[in-house]
């Protein structure tokens, strides 16, 4: 059923691989950050920015652009890597991550980073912010879409469900949420810390169209899910994407320990081999 060419898939996969490497390199250089969640989300973010969304790196504030809100703001290294590669700002900025004078703060700052649509980092707030953007599109009779990435642990915040009710009430079919279901949060597995299941049923009960994405790190499946999500009429859609935290580096996968710390030098050495990219250098 897929209409996506093998070339497109391959191209996006290669980009995601580059972004994985950049995530690890920039957090390694910074000495801190959140690589684990960045690695689970990066394939979806790559698909959004390189295939799905209407954005113009030369004109970040273009009125008709699609909006993307990174509600799980801590995985901003993934977003920064993509925005830099697209040319929203010079790539050298990546090596200033988390410094006081950097345009790339520890969590997204819309006033400092071109292409960042909302300052996030305190969890649970991006969905309602996205609702506001989607309402504005309707008021202004514009056809842009609003995409919002949520963490799975993040949906334990009450603000998420307030926004979920609001989006359904206002029938915001120009809003697409994507839930990065990597099943891990800081204190352990989500189902041990605070059960989220049955997650699809919860969103359906709140009036949302739910698209279940079996493998949120598989590019073809991601593109198919995004296509499906944009077809919904009269209600908001959420893609629940099963992903793997730390995806792409063997020892990081499905490990909670890499949520909020950079790799150590010996770990970095292994990761660099696993994510070898010809000609890659930290400039």
């Amino acid at each position: 059923m897929s209409t996506f060419s093998p070339e497109l898939i391959k191209d996006l996969e290669e980009k995601a691989r580059l972004f994985r490497r950049l995530i690890l390199e920039m957090t390694f250089k910074a000495g801190s950050g959140h690589p684990g969640g960045s690695m689970s989300a990066v394939d979806i973010l790559t698909a959004l920015y390189y295939h799905e969304m209407r954005v113009d790196p030369k004109n970040p504030m273009w009125e008709d652009r699609d909006r993307f809100v990174l509600s799980k703001g801590h995985v901003c290294p993934a977003l920064y890597a993509i925005l830099a590669e697209l040319g929203f700002f010079p790539k050298e900025a990546l090596w200033t991550l988390r410094r006081p004078d950097s345009i790339l703060q520890g969590h997204p700052d819309m006033r400092k980073t071109p292409g960042v649509e909302m300052s996030t980092g305190s969890l649970g707030q991006g969905l309602s912010v996205s609702c506001g953007m989607a309402l504005a599109a309707r008021l202004d009779k514009k056809d842009y879409k609003v995409y919002c990435m949520l963490g799975d642990g993040e949906v334990q915040e009450g603000n998420i469900w307030e926004g979920a009710m609001f989006a359904a009430h206002e029938k915001l079919d120009n809003l697409i949420a994507i839930l990065d279901r990597n099943r891990l949060q800081i204190d352990g597995f989500t189902e041990d810390v605070m059960s989220l299941e049955p997650l699809s049923e919860k969103w359906k009960a709140f009036g949302w169209e739910v698209v279940e994405l079996k493998d949120g790190n598989d590019m073809r499946q991601i593109l198919e899910a995004l296509d499906k999500a944009t077809e919904t009429k009269g209600k908001p859609t959420i893609i629940i994407a099963d992903t793997l935290k730390g995806k792409g580096v063997s020892f990081m996968e499905n490990k909670v320990g890499y949520h909020g710390r950079a790799l150590k030098p010996d770990e970095m050495e292994i990761a660099r081999k696993e994510l070898e990219i010809p000609g890659f250098e930290v400039s």
Binding site: V69, M118, L127, C131, L135, L139, M165
Partner: protein, 322 residues
């Protein structure tokens, strides 16, 4: 005050001003959290149903939806009661409104003790303290209904986040309907206080419903032979340092009066200026670190020492320390 004094509720002025400004500015969008009838945003909703959204009993949603709209160029007014519009969504205000400096006007009614018989659960006397602590926020406490009308106009012209505190019950009106004072049309400027009465021996700096008490206190002090200046400090942040320092230099003693806790509000803001630049003595009239009881606002004002009597006592006390 023997003659009948004119009274009006600041929330009514807010509701009317929104409707007027809504006609002129198509980008104004108004949000509420199930209190539209009480905050008077329902008047805007009736006139402009497409530009009004009820966010439900969900203040976190209220503030974050407001932020999203503001990123798309909307001038957003978000209203509910002060207790809920500050305390139930403080982190949302901080993260998505103050930090990115978005054009959201948080206008809260039923502030302080004016919410009255609903009691402590509904009374906040630290909302100004909370919001004032946030960078980028402007904080307003208008003195009366005509000043509220002018303030709403100023908010629309100003591109940035604001918290404005309004009351429930009708309160005394000083200014003419056209914002004139003693027959002279005044200009409302954010951050610029107004001297309502000249004086040389002590200065009373007040805002909100306490401006009326300050004026009564100045009358009483005058009858006792004390010449008191009265300043209406409608903007708590950014505070009008110039007027404070001028008053300190010229009168040498300051009394602050606010319908708010003395912790973190107007008194604190004034003291913060004075201790650094001209440490004259200060007395603060306000609520003293307590949860206030149920009761009509006029009763509570007596009960918690928010009357001209306490301002007079404070003035006499502070003058002794000159």
């Amino acid at each position: 005050m023997s003659e009948k004094v004119a009274k009006a509720a600041t929330r009514d002025a807010y509701g009317k001003a929104l409707v007027e400004l809504g006609k002129k500015y198509e980008d104004i969008v108004v949000l509420d959290a199930d209190l539209a009838g009480s905050t008077r945003t329902a008047w805007f909703a009736k006139e402009f149903p497409d530009r009004f959204f009820d966010c439900g009993i969900a203040e976190e949603n209220l503030m974050t939806v407001a932020a999203g709209l503001a990123t798309c160029g909307k001038i957003v007014f978000a209203s509910t009661f002060a207790v809920f519009g500050t305390e139930r969504c403080y982190n949302q205000i901080r993260q998505t409104i103050a930090y990115p400096k978005l054009n959201v006007k948080i206008v809260c009614t039923h502030s302080g003790i004016t919410v009255g018989p609903d009691g402590a659960s509904h009374q906040t006397t630290w909302d100004v303290a909370l919001i004032r602590a946030l960078p980028n926020m402007t904080v307003l406490v208008p003195a009366d209904a005509p000043e509220t009308t002018e303030a709403v106009k100023a908010l629309v012209e100003y591109d940035g986040p604001v918290y404005m505190r309004l009351g429930r019950t009708p309160s005394r009106v000083f200014y003419g309907e056209d914002y004139s004072y003693k027959g002279k049309k005044q200009k409302f400027e954010l951050g610029k206080s107004m001297e309502l009465r000249p004086g040389k021996e002590v200065t009373i700096i007040s805002n909100g419903i306490m401006v009326a008490e300050a004026m009564d206190a100045a009358d009483e002090l005058s009858s006792q032979g004390i010449d008191a200046r009265v300043i209406n400090m409608h903007t708590v942040k950014p505070i009008d340092e110039e007027a404070i320092l001028k008053a300190a230099g010229e009168t040498g003693a300051i009394v602050t009066a606010e319908e708010h806790s003395i912790i973190g509000g107007l008194g604190s803001a004034v003291a913060e200026v004075l201790v650094r630049k001209n440490p004259v003595s200060v007395e603060m009239v306000g609520v003293h670190d307590i949860f206030t009881d149920s009761g009509e606002d006029v009763v509570l004002q007596e009960l918690y020492g928010l009357k001209s009597k306490e301002i007079v006592e404070a003035a006499r006390k502070v003058m002794k320390r000159k």
